[in-house]
């Protein structure tokens, strides 16, 4: 068939049902167009066909015969510059589809209405078919409005992040776009049973790579069993589908019932994967329950005695309750992906969608017994991670082993179902909390018991987070893991904190309510953190706060409410970080072994170097996403900016001293903070610095008491993370933190079939993340003081900006209705049953 793609007449030999997206990407090499959901939900694959935006995953290429197709690579439209200028993107993986659709919308709008901005709701309705997991919706709104006003018809813009033009044109290359000569496509064969011993594996492939653990037991449906490769993904999938797996069934634990069968035998427990970002802490086991881990308690016995006495006496100062949270899935739009190649010298080259290239390289070297310099990792652009892409995971093992077996490069890209099923999640939790206030209205005791279901993985740290808040009153903090035959959890943006804050910040709110005290006023009394005090001061004066209704005072169908929640997070850094600067062709090139997963770390480095050397933006270039250069941090624990920015500044100062002559190379170091760090030395590239970052979220919602829906209207996000190095990306990340927090509060929930253990929410229709129409107006306020002891005066904000959001929604719903939600997400059924008892 014949087709015109980006103005070029092209002859194609394609099957009648082959989706356009595969033809564009695999046959024509136009990888700007992304395949994400493959079910028409997310819009990432949008292209123009005869000038109309079309989902190329749902359209057979054959249907475009003799038609003109324009992909993002062929698009040249003001809205692309608007996206760059207004930061309508973070990781950039959804961006190609968005800009194609936005281009059509902007043209249509301007033709019909002239150069005026459309209403916010009109833009949201037009873009409703696109999902952005980073939550860049505020920037997308601003970009489309600006393009409609005709503000970007000219040529140049100053992009809010340095790689923006690559991302809006489809030039940015992600791991899923990599295609090496002779490359095969690998597919993982996965368990269909929740618990079984695998007795045989038969697949019609020359090389079947084994991925089972040494005991040959699969402990969750979806666990990798083996991997096979073929010239195309379709062929590889067919081989995997036809594989015959022999199982000896074992009883499965799919709930937390005391009589559930054991997931691990006594001597297998140490094999349980760790889903915390730290080392595995020892804790006792009792069947499938591991814990308590209680070493972060402070005068725990006193706390428990005070709570018990208060309970026995019916003390009105005691507020106790049970709160639960659902399993949340990271859902990066770029799935886990790896392209592995062994070269003639026995060196291993990995293209990987990872947030920690150096950590992955070290793990790979260890796993495959290679010297460190024989592993090279490239992650030029990464389509989101949120914590789940921090190690050598199944797709990488499969790709490396298949590449070795087959003797050619092999690419393994997880399908959306695999990504949503097996690639990590934030555990579901049940929290029992009791908070006692004394006669003077001070915190007297706190007890928190948290049971977390991380599937086959352990390492929950939810209750421990209560050590970081509200002074030094006695507190007993106990964490338990409940293991089940479900897929393993993984670290997820602020591990442990969102479920703790969901319980704690609502209990503090309830305490204030019972005392007849303003919830912000109570926090100002209890919270010793001076940076958050500054945020409370601003929050308390917000019109939304001062004008909020009295709780339970409304009787109409639609009720508005305003809620507040505070958050506290550690300041982490990688003290060994270095940045190298070289003058190449008159341009200062910055290199370090870090990666940008959408955080804007490229922009942080570029802006520090440009400012320090007083250079225009075009004379600074940042090359990251490759090992083999000076050490850089993983994008974990909000540590990137606090690590690289001071090192970049140090390097720039050295370069200024050395002079900007061609070929000059300097290396800058991340100099120590004044008074050093809390941790005496870095473990795994991570030290904990002095001081805590803080956030206060004030959220306004409208509750529809007839139909059970909660609509977020406005969110004020006060963030205390010191100096902001790159305004656009920092703001974007805080807005995205709000959007993800709203998803956690209202929509996101993994469902597992209670009979088989199969994950049901295996597509983006059923696993529901927020869309642009769910995104409220977000006002980000930075408090930049209080970090003079820190080199560079600024710390990270990726985690603190999201962890308290759900609690602020809970408090807002309570303010609106007088009914306090205790279970996440706040679904329509829960709201209706909670309010009306039916």
């Amino acid at each position: 068939m014949k087709i015109v793609v980006n103005g070029v007449r092209t002859e194609l030999d394609t099957g009648p049902d082959e989706p356009m997206v595969d033809v564009l990407r695999d046959e024509l090499g136009l990888t700007g167009t992304k395949a994400v959901c493959r079910t028409g939900v997310c819009g990432a694959c949008t292209v123009m066909v005869e000038g109309e935006p079309r989902l190329s995953c749902l359209m057979p290429a054959a249907a475009a015969e003799e038609q003109e197709v324009t992909t993002v690579e062929g698009l040249d439209h003001p809205v692309q510059r608007a996206f760059a200028a207004h930061d309508g993107l973070q990781c950039g993986y959804c961006t190609p589809g968005l800009v194609v659709e936005a281009a059509a919308f902007v043209d249509g709008w301007r033709a019909g209405h002239g150069d005026v901005a459309p209403p916010r709701e009109t833009i949201a309705a037009a873009m409703a078919g696109h999902l952005c997991r980073c939550g860049a919706y505020e920037g997308i709104q601003a970009a489309i409005a600006a393009a409609c006003r005709g503000e970007h018809d000219g040529d140049a813009v100053t992009p809010a992040r340095v790689e923006a033009m690559d991302k809006v044109t489809g030039r940015a290359r992600y791991t899923t776009d990599v295609r090496l000569d002779g490359q095969l496509e690998g597919v993982i064969i996965r368990a269909t049973r929740a618990h079984a011993r695998v007795t045989s594996v038969r697949a019609a492939a020359a090389h079947v790579v084994d991925l089972l653990p040494s005991d040959r037991v699969v402990r969750y449906a979806g666990q990798p069993i083996a991997a096979v490769a073929a010239p195309t993904r379709r062929e590889a999938l067919a081989i995997a589908a036809g594989a015959e797996i022999g199982y000896e069934p074992l009883p499965a634990a799919l709930d937390d019932a005391p009589d559930a069968p054991d997931v691990y035998g006594e001597d297998e427990r140490k094999k349980a994967p760790n889903h915390s970002e730290g080392p595995t802490m020892s804790a006792p086991w009792n069947g499938n329950v591991r814990g308590p881990f209680n070493r972060m308690s402070k005068r725990g016995r006193t706390a428990a005695q005070r709570v018990e006495a208060a309970r026995a006496a019916g003390d009105p100062g005691l507020v106790a309750g049970t709160f639960t949270t659902a399993v949340q899935v990271h859902t990066p739009l770029e799935p886990h992906a790896c392209v592995a190649r062994w070269d003639e010298d026995g060196a291993l080259h990995l293209h990987m969608s990872t947030q920690a290239i150096e950590m992955v390289a070290a793990q790979a070297a260890k796993r495959w017994g290679l010297p460190a310099d024989k592993v090279r990792v490239v992650a030029e652009h990464v389509g989101g991670g949120f914590g789940a892409k921090a190690g050598v995971t199944a797709e990488t093992v499969a790709a490396v082993e298949l590449a070795r077996a087959c003797g050619v490069p092999v690419r393994v890209v997880l399908g959306r179902d695999e990504e949503l099923t097996t690639a990590g999640n934030r555990p579901g939790t049940r929290t029992e909390i009791a908070l006692l206030t004394d006669g003077e209205g001070n915190l007297s005791a706190l007890t928190v018991d948290v049971h977390a279901r991380g599937g086959v993985a352990v390492g929950s740290g939810v209750a421990v987070m209560a050590r970081l808040m509200y002074g030094r009153a006695p507190r007993r903090l106990r964490d338990y893991d409940v293991v089940t035959n479900e897929p393993p959890a993984a670290p997820f943006r602020g591990p442990g904190a969102p479920p703790l804050l969901w319980a704690l910040e609502q209990t503090v709110d309830e305490t204030a309510h019972r005392r007849g005290e303003d919830p912000i006023a109570l926090r100002r009394r209890w919270d010793g953190n001076p940076k958050r005090q500054a945020l409370y001061e601003v929050a308390a004066a917000l019109p939304a706060w001062t004008g909020r209704p009295a709780t339970g005072s409304q009787t109409g169908r639609l009720r508005r409410g305003v809620g507040v929640a505070a958050a506290n997070w550690m300041y982490m850094l990688d003290p060994g970080t270095e940045v190298e600067l070289t003058v190449e062709g008159g341009v200062v090139v910055a290199r370090t072994a870090t990666q940008d997963i959408g955080t804007g770390v490229r922009t942080v480095i570029a802006s520090v170097v440009a400012a320090e050397l007083d250079l225009p933006a075009e004379r600074v270039r940042v090359e990251i996403g490759r090992t083999g250069v000076v050490h850089g941090p993983g994008a974990l624990g909000s540590r990137s900016t606090a690590s690289v920015a001071p090192a970049a500044r140090d390097a720039a100062r050295r370069l200024r001293q050395a002079g900007l002559t061609e070929g000059t190379r300097v290396v800058g170091k991340r100099r120590r903070d004044r008074r050093g760090y809390v941790t005496p030395f870095a473990v795994g590239g991570m030290a904990i610095g002095r001081g805590f970052s803080g956030a206060v979220h004030v959220t306004e919602v409208e509750v529809d008491t007839r139909l059970g829906t909660v609509r977020p209207l406005r969110v004020w996000a006060g963030i205390a993370a010191g100096h902001i190095y790159a305004e656009g990306p920092a703001r974007g990340q805080c807005e995205g933190g709000v959007v993800q927090g709203l998803g956690y509060a209202l929509y996101e929930e993994r469902h597992v079939d209670p009979v088989t253990g199969v994950v049901l929410t295996a597509n983006l229709d059923d696993y529901q993340i927020p869309g642009i129409a769910d995104c409220p107006e977000i006002d980000v306020h930075f408090h930049q003081e209080g970090w003079d002891h820190v080199n560079g005066q600024g710390v990270g904000l990726g985690e603190v900006s999201t962890i308290g959001v759900a609690a602020s929604v809970g408090n807002a719903v309570y303010n609106a209705t007088g009914w306090r939600p205790r279970d996440l997400p706040i679904r329509p059924d829960r709201l209706i049953e909670g309010m009306y008892g039916r």
Partner: protein
């Protein structure tokens, strides 16, 4: 050019008909796709002399939503069309495809399960996750019918035109929901050509609403459509239909009768609950159903603007 009879023959050989393809392309193929594109018998919107309108099965949802004459005559259908899915889906998906699509049950769509719908002999959803399950129990399968247009067309008393048969009421595409093996009753090889809506009632006012957690782009938990004629403060004509609650789209004659008998809207809407038999996690759908019905009754009673 492929003809209608070619298609019927091909479908008898075990393929699936593809109109817009938005459903078909997003699930594993059950055989070759047989493309309906460009068939003249299935295209076009035709106004007939008696005031009825014939809408070809390949008419896209977007065209339906944008058709001013349809919006004026049959606002309930236009509103349902405008509210479903996303702009891109609407621009490709068709009237026929929407009516004859497969259901959204997560068990049916997951290859790990076998059920009545996928050729098996059971319903794993009944023993499993039932939050979205049908709350009106009409048969062994508990997947709610997914078609928003069917809800509206049922309320509009539209007829379906299938190649080789006389036009029949749209509801007969679905029957009573007791057959758990399929989402519509057309035999293999049958091609839906068009739907025809009779002329609207004089002075009718209509509303449609889908209730879902998120603001847009989500399959509804419950949806409802209402057509009312109100004269001197009394309902003289009423059609109320609902989706998301049963194996098939439902017309709620008990609600209509109550309205005609002069019952207040709240009382009439409450009657929507009488057919419900909640089980598992779906009891909330009873309240959502009565709430959504009341929503459309109120809007049809006093349309905004």
């Amino acid at each position: 050019m492929i003809t209608l009879s070619d298609i019927g023959a091909a479908a008898l050989g075990g393929g699936e008909l593809r109109a817009g393809g938005t459903d078909l392309m997003s699930r594993p193929a059950a055989g070759p796709h047989i493309d309906l594109r460009g068939l003249p018998e299935l295209s076009g919107v035709t106004w007939l002399p008696d005031g009825s309108v014939r809408i070809g099965a390949l008419t896209t949802i977007a065209a339906l939503a944008a058709d001013e004459r349809i919006a004026a005559a049959h606002p309930c259908l236009a509103l349902a069309a405008a509210a479903l899915a996303t702009p891109q889906i609407r621009s490709v998906a068709t009237v026929g495809g929407n009516l004859l699509q497969r259901n959204r049950c997560a068990y049916f769509r997951n290859p790990a399960f076998s059920c009545f719908q996928s050729g098996g002999n059971g319903c794993p959803a009944r023993a499993g996750h039932t939050l979205r399950a049908a709350v009106v129990d009409s048969g062994p399968c508990v997947a709610p019918h997914p078609s928003s247009l069917a809800v509206a067309l049922l309320g509009c008393e539209a007829t379906a035109e299938v190649d080789g048969t006389a036009p029949f009421p749209v509801g007969e595409l679905y029957g009573d929901g007791s057959d758990p093996t399929r989402d519509h009753l057309l035999p293999p090889g049958a091609v839906l050509l068009a739907v025809t809506l009779p002329p609207p009632q004089e002075g009718e006012r209509a509303a449609h609403h889908r209730t879902a957690g998120r603001a847009l782009a989500e399959w509804p938990l419950v949806e409802a459509a209402a057509r009312l004629v109100v004269a001197d403060g009394r309902v003289t004509f009423a059609r109320v239909s609902v989706g998301g609650v049963a194996r098939v789209p439902l017309r709620l004659t008990e609600v209509e009768d109550a309205l005609l008998a002069g019952e207040p809207l709240e009382r009439a809407a409450e009657l929507a609950a009488t057919r419900c038999a909640p089980s598992g996690q779906n009891a909330y759908k009873v309240a959502l159903l009565t709430g959504t019905v009341l929503e459309v009754l109120e809007r049809a009673w006093a349309p905004a603007g």
